[in-house]
Structure formats: C-alpha cells, structure tokens
Symmetry: C2
C-alpha cells in the first residue's frame, strides 16, 4: 500500500518475525554430558525481529534446547508472530513490558503453560529480542541500558501478578533506588575488572579423569576461583572424581557439584553427605526444580553445603516460593528459560528482597552471552555487589556469535557493543540450520554413503 517503500519510515514497524531451527552436533564430543543429559545436541530456536526503519537494526533472541524438540520451540515462536507484526518499533522499545504482558496474556496460548515450558520459553525469546532491539536503538549494551533506566520505568516493566504478596511495586522501587547509589563507580569497576565467573568446562560427566584434572588445573591457571563437577550417575565414580578434582585445584578453589535433578529428596541428602568430605561449595539441582519443599528439606540436611537451583525453574512464582521457604542459598537465574528480561528483573528483585546471591546459569548456546548483561545490571544498579556471586562459564560455541563473551582472568569483560549480544553469525546459521544447513546436509549425505 505504501507508495514510497524505499524512504525510511518515520513510524517504523515490525515487518517480519523470522525463525530458525539451529542445532550443533555437540553430542559427538560428550561436551555438555551430565547425569540427566547423556548426549545433548546444543540447539537454539532463534528469532529475528525485522523492521522497516532502514537503520540496520534487528532484535535477536532465542530459546536454548538440547536437540530433539527444537522444532516445537520454533512452532511456539511462530505462534507469537501475530502479536509482533505491525507493532510500532518506537512503542515497543519504549515499553518492552507491553509486549511481555501481551504475550503472557494471550488467553489461548496461556493454556499451554501457564507461564512454563515450551510456550513460556518462546515468549522469553521474543521478549529478549525486543530488549535487544531497544538497547541497540539506545546504542548501549543491555546491562548499561538497564542500569541507566529510571527506577520507576523499570518497575513499570515488571508483572507483579502472583508475587505481590512478597514484593510489591513500592518495595521494588526502593531496591532500585538504593541500587542506584554508587552506580557510576561500580560501572567503572565493572569496565575495569569485569564480573567474576566460574567454569563448568572441566566437569562434564563423560570426560575421563585425566581430562578432568587437566582442565581443572587449566581453569585455575586461567584465573577461575571456582569450578563445577557434574555428579549423580554413580556414587563411587563421583567420590573418585571429586577427590581427583580437589587434589588438582587444592583447598582454596571452590568446587560446586551439579546433579541435574537426578535424585529424589532422600537420595539427594545421602549422596551430598557422601561427597561432603571434599568440601563442595554448593549442590546444584539436587532434585526436581518443581520441588520447593524438597529443596528446603535438602538444604537443612546438607548444610554447610549450599543448595543452588534455577536453570530449570519455570517462572518468578517458583522462585518466590524457593525464597519464601529459605530453600536455596544460591539463585541461578537463566536468561532464556523464563519470560525474558522483564521476568528476570522480577527475579533479581525477589533475590534482592531476600538477600540471596544470584549466580546465573550459563553455557548452552549463547546463554553466557545473554546472562552476563543481567548479572552486570544487578551489580551496577541493584544488589551493588559481586560478593559470593559468579556467572557460570562454559567454553564452547561462542565462535558462532557476533559479539562473543570475552573472558579476562576468570572474569566476564563488560560488553561494549549495543544490544543483548544475542546475534548469531550468518555463516553459523547457514551451516547449522536444521535439517537443511550445509553441515546437516553433508552429515545426511555421509550417512547414506556409509549405508
């Protein structure tokens, strides 16, 4: 209908919501193997918001999955397209919360959750893409965009439904206003030193003891003060691996252990106690992420070992209860599991309300790239500290991103490029698009040749 399509629009709109099924064949190296996930193919259901602003800016977001079912996530992204197409870019960037509320509030799609699983993760991907676009248009990395935002505006971004009984807008505003004090100095400190990280790369369950020792020593040499081991498949093995890991890193490096939900409550207690002599710093995902009371019971029984969970916690409502029940020592938010930045703001504020440290989950595909922004915002403009706070780091698949994380002496360097660091390289998309990317086509051809 427009007679002048080449002229930049003065009121640009979202004109396309492109989706991609991207899969990396990580299972072939046992990277990412743990007690529940023996052979993950790290994948992303990837979404790009395109506009007619002719400024070259797009919004990028994704859901991380581990292979099969990534196409279901893509189908969920596509179901959200009608909510995005035609939206004013100015309005979307001025109020990403309105997108978030519309998506969560679609009554028919809500039935598929509510606010959990496939549908909620797809909403998270789209909401994150909106924030990516908003930060790019503001020409700031997301952590800075959030840190510079007015507390009142940030509070307006949050859906307080179902959490208002423990955190109301006034309380949230109080946290954010206090968080602003000293933000300029902390921004400088962040730019100088980065944000502390720990690494999971040595501890995958499929690795040999030799590889574990080598990588653990390397991690310490690289400046990490914490490593993590996957546990939960076999107790004898875990005792041996924990012993060699402790010997490799010495007594001063923290070793976290991670059971990836393998246990029921009694097993979790027994197993963790059996590893306690090696001084594990936390036990992560000891049981189902849905079991709030179970985590509370485990925490009482395994102290002083800390209890951590969050990467599979479906939304702010479960986090609220984990905090209400004093069920966790460490809250591990994930950038792509819940409903995007807006819900993660709520979760960061809940953690602040209960003074529980946030140590984000990362790894996967692009989760490090995303979540660093949330932790850095928390440091600069909310909790104001990195004490007992570390972001997980895993050293694979970063090469597929345009703005990969940069690690310096065991710290995440503060991103400088505008946006949410979510953009995948076009060559990587071309190669690993499933099933028709060049890698997968060649793989299929090779299989046929073998037969």
């Amino acid at each position: 209908m427009s007679p002048t399509p080449q002229v930049p629009s003065t009121d640009p709109r979202i004109i396309a919501v492109d989706t991609y099924d991207i899969r990396f064949p990580t299972s072939r190296e046992l990277d990412g193997s743990d007690a529940m996930n023996p052979d993950p193919d790290y994948s992303a259901a990837y979404v790009v918001l395109r506009t007619d602003a002719h400024d070259g800016l797009e919004g990028h977001g994704f859901t991380f999955t581990i292979g099969r079912g990534n196409e279901i996530q893509v189908a969920a992204l596509e179901a959200l397209r009608p909510h995005l197409l035609g939206r004013s870019v100015e309005e979307l960037c001025a109020d990403p919360g309105s997108v978030s509320r519309d998506l969560v509030g679609d009554s028919q799609l809500r039935w598929l959750g509510p606010e959990k699983g496939v549908m909620h993760m797809a909403i998270g991907a789209v909401v994150n893409a909106a924030w990516d676009l908003a930060a790019k248009r503001a020409e700031k990395p997301l952590w800075q965009f959030l840190s510079d935002a007015e507390p009142e505006w940030l509070v307006g971004q949050i859906d307080f439904r179902y959490i208002a009984d423990v955190l109301n807008p006034d309380q949230a505003l109080g946290h954010l206003r206090r968080g602003r004090e000293g933000a300029a100095q902390r921004t400088d400190a962040l730019r100088e030193r980065g944000y502390p990280a720990y690494t999971t790369s040595p501890g995958w369950l499929g690795y040999s003891d030799e590889k574990l020792i080598l990588l653990a020593k390397e991690a310490v040499a690289d400046g990490f003060r914490q490593v993590k081991l996957k546990v939960g498949a076999d107790l004898e093995d875990d005792i041996r691996r924990m012993r060699v890991a402790r010997e490799a890193v010495g007594p001063d490096i923290r070793i976290a252990i991670d059971a990836n939900q393998r246990w029921s409550v009694p097993e979790a207690v027994e197993w963790t106690r059996a590893l306690a002599e090696f001084d594990p710093y936390w036990i992560e995902e000891p049981t189902s992420p849905d079991d709030i009371l179970g985590h509370a019971e485990i925490r009482k029984a395994v102290a002083p070992v800390r209890v951590a969970t969050g990467e599979h916690v479906q939304n702010r409502i479960i986090f609220k209860q984990l905090l209400q029940m004093s069920a966790v020592d460490v809250l591990q938010l994930d950038a792509a599991r819940v409903g995007g930045v807006n819900e993660n703001l709520a979760i960061l504020l809940l953690a602040a309300q209960y003074a529980v440290p946030v140590c984000p989950h990362a790894g996967g595909v692009g989760l490090c790239e995303l979540v660093q922004h949330l932790a850095m915002f928390d440091f600069v403009a909310l909790s104001g500290t990195t004490e007992n706070r570390v972001i997980e780091y895993v050293d694979h698949l970063h090469q597929h991103f345009e703005e990969p994380v940069r690690m310096v002496a065991g710290h995440y360097a503060a991103p400088r490029a505008p946006g949410f660091s979510a953009m995948m390289r076009p060559e990587s998309i071309e190669r690993y698009r499933y099933p028709d990317g060049t890698f997968w086509l060649a793989d299929e051809a090779a299989k046929e040749f073998k037969v």
Copy 2:
C-alpha cells in the same frame, strides 16, 4: 520386508502415529468463557496409534487446548512418534508404564519441561492412547481394567521419582490392597447409580443473569446437587450473580466458585471473603497453580470456604507439595494435563495418602469422557467412597465422541464400552480439522465473501 502383509501378525507392532489438529468454534457462543479465558475455541491435539494386528483396535488420546497453539501441541505429539513406531503391541499393553518412562525420560525432550507444559501434555496424550489400546484389547472400559488389575502391577506403573519422600511403593501397595476390599460390591453400586457429578454449564462468565438462573434451575431439576460459577472479572457482578444463583437453587445445593487464576494471594482472600455470605462451597483456582504457599495462605484465610485446584497443576510434584502444605481441600485432577494415566495413578495415591477428596476437572473437549474412568477406578478400587467427591460436568461437544458420557440424574453412568472413551467420530474430525476441515474451509470462504 514381510512376504505376507495381509495375514494378522502374531507379534503386532505400532505402525502409525497419526496426529490431528481439531478445533471447535466455541468462542462464538461464549461457551467456556471465564475471567482468564474470554473467548476459547475448544480444541484437541489428537493422536491415534495404529497397529498391524488387524483386530480393528486403535489407541486414541488427545491434549485439550483452547485454540491458538493447538498446532504446537501437534508438533509435540509428532516429536514423540519415533518412541512409538515399531513397538510391540503386546509389550506396550502389558506395561504402558514403560512407554510413559521412555517418553518422560527422553533427555533431549525433557529439557522442554521438565514434566510440564506443552511437552508433558503431549506425553499425556500418547500415554493415554496406549492405555486406551490396552483396555480395548482387554475388552474392558478403562475404569474396570484398572480396578481389576493386580495392585503390584499398578504400583509398577508408577514413577515414584520426586514423590518417594512422601509416598513410596510399599505405601502405594498398601493403599491399593485396602482399596480392593469390597470392590465387587462397589462395582455393582457404580453400575447401578453411576458417579455423582456437578455442572459448570450455568455459570460461564459471558452468560446473562437470565441464562444463569434458567440453567441453574434446570441443573437442579436434572438431579445435580452442585453447580459452579465463574468469578473474578468484576466483584460487583460476582456478588450479583452469586446472589441470583443462590436464590435460584436454594440453600441446599452447593455452589462452587472458580476464579481461573485471576488473583494474587491478597486479592484472592479479599474477593472470596466478599462472596462468603452466599456460602460458596469451594473457591477454585484462586491464584497461580504454581503457588503452593499461596494456596496454603488463602486456605487458612478463607475457611470455611474450601480451596480447590488442579486442572492446571503440571505434575505429581506440585500436587505432592499442595498436599504436604495442606494447601487444598479438594484436588482436581485432569486427565489430559499431566503425563497420562500413569501419573494420574500417582496423584490419586497421593490424595489417598493425605485423605483429600478428588473432584476431577472436566469439560473442554472430551475431558469428561476421559476423567470419569479415573474417578470410577478411585471409587471402586482405591478410596472406596464418593463422599464429598463429584466429577465436573459440562454439557457441550460430547456429540463428537463415539462413546459420549451418559448423565443419569446428576450422575455419570459407568461406561460399558472397552477403552478410555477417547475416540472422536470420524465425521467430526473431518469437519473440524484445522485449517482444512469442511467447517473451517467454509468459514474461510464466508470471510472472503464478506470482504
């Protein structure tokens, strides 16, 4: 490869997993409207397991949705196909639990939940289809197939992971053995009188007061002793509707109210108290189904009004905690939200363990047809009682099923046909398949004509 495809196989296999996206245009009549779902198009992601047994038997199952997103459920069903194809029908019917465990345990698909939302509902549909086939091959309606089964075998069908801390296999066996005492007499009673029901048909939020009064009086005349009203959109309206409903049915008929998760905890308490003078029997879904502690708090604050929830409760782990926290007076299991019959057996046993009555959620598309079997099994061979127990009944869309529920004097008559009553009529599938069924094609053509 088989040289004699026409001869019945002696070791029949699953040879096809057919899926259908079925949608009914219910939003046009405001049937099913409530405070969170103003315009549902009741839908089913439908699955048929076909075999090469040449006995004419198929396994039927489905997920209920309310319209948009039904295609995502279908995509999830399709992701499960490789787990089913080629399976031995004998083995599947002798141990549907093995299917359930395999589907829930697919480590890559598990990432999409775990055990919640789109992926878990799809698993429920497939698992229910397996049970449908098993009961048909045994030539029994499912309620009877379950009631006749050995307690040891039933216990073997249950996944105790994450619930073993409150219910272990020995305790489950105890409940089932006690439940068997007197089962023959209860089977006779069930066949004679059926299972008590309540009806939600009068109380949809979109109905006028006149329609509400008319339908409520009709319900009482039809023999129902309980009706239900949707509430939560506007308090003034709710007070007026509750008053006219109470006047219409008199003091002896129970009126349940249902907020469909509309409220945060403080609102739920306030609103329920404001309606207490009309003696509501229970408040259903006062807040998020994820908020276990919230339900516990609401229950304390609104007694003697009972608290009920369950239709959106994602799995046995959340039910476990609702029971642990004494957060509900009434547990409303749903036949198609969780991981199928196996997980519902666990939930019925948890309810028995805590002596909480189960009043199943129904309505939707085919949920009445399915869930009656679970309640009847519970009466005959587990709890042994229908005291304070009623199955929800909604009077639409039954005509699309081959074996629709039969209501007699406010009771569900015990199904006599073998299976799980899940089979939709082929004409209905042909007409309401989306988007290419005859109804939807005509609808699309009519729209174009109007433009």
